[in-house]
Amino acid sequence: MNKLADDYADRGMGSIFLYTQEAHPGENYPPLTSMEQKFANAADLRDKLGVTRQIYADAFEGDCHWGYGSMPNMTWIFNAKGVPLYKSDWSDAASAENAVAYFLDVETRRKSGEVLVPFNVERLDYRNNDTRAFFEGLALAGPKAVEEFKKAFG
């Protein structure tokens, strides 16, 4: 997602990371009890995992996260008026880039004189399922997080 942000930064696309709750609290990153802890964990996300996009913290009780469906790793794309154009229940850079390229082309087509109106479409996108990388990430939280995930999903 960092690369997507970099690749389209000069084409009218902004990109942010919105810090929510700890989905897999563990010994190293226990459940959030304060905004200060949330800010500190978000800084770790930036410094340890290399998130280069601007990171914002949601409210302590996750008002924005909850308002948009509260999935643990989702992506939304908005226009400048705050209208959502795309929503994905899992973040995937290829899927998001496909959507961004499409929406930027819509603007190009409009500027060239095409009269375009929106319509609804649903489709399934596909992502790589890198289990090893997932568990490596989960281990950052601590053994408790790994055990709880295995217990929940086998």
């Binding site: 009218g12 696309m13 902004g14 990109s15 942010i16 990371f17 919105l18 810090y19 709750q21 989905a23 897999h24 609290p25 226990p30 009890t33 800010f39 964990n41 978000a42 340890k48 996009r53 601007q54 990171i55 914002y56 913290a57 949601d58 009780e61 996750g62 008002d63 924005c64 996260h65 909850w66 308002g67 948009y68 509260s70 999935m71 643990p72 790793n73 989702m74 992506t75 908005f78 226009n79 400048a80 008026k81 705050g82 209208v83 959502p84 154009l85 795309y86 929503k87 973040s91 961004v100 929406f103 930027l104 929106p118 609804n120 950052l140 939280a141 408790k144 997080a145 709880e148 929940a152």
Partner: protein, 65 residues
């Protein structure tokens, strides 16, 4: 709002009530606005204010864990 948003264990009783993608806002209509805080200086802004800066804004939700 979830009663146990900042839950202490990843167990179905805690995380399943938060899987609410089917209840999320519709596309094509103005989405709800919420306050957000920049992590470096704790300055307050809002989702819509952030979006207003660009033609498109990609928002990834998540956390370190």
């Amino acid at each position: 709002m979830a009663v146990n948003y900042n839950y202490d264990a990843f167990i179905p009783e805690n995380f399943m009530p938060q899987m609410r993608f089917d209840k999320s806002p519709a596309l094509g209509k103005p989405g709800p606005d919420f306050p957000l805080w920049k992590i470096e200086d704790r300055s307050e802004t809002s989702l819509h204010a952030v979006c207003a800066s660009n033609a498109l804004t990609v928002v990834e939700f998540g956390s370190l864990t």
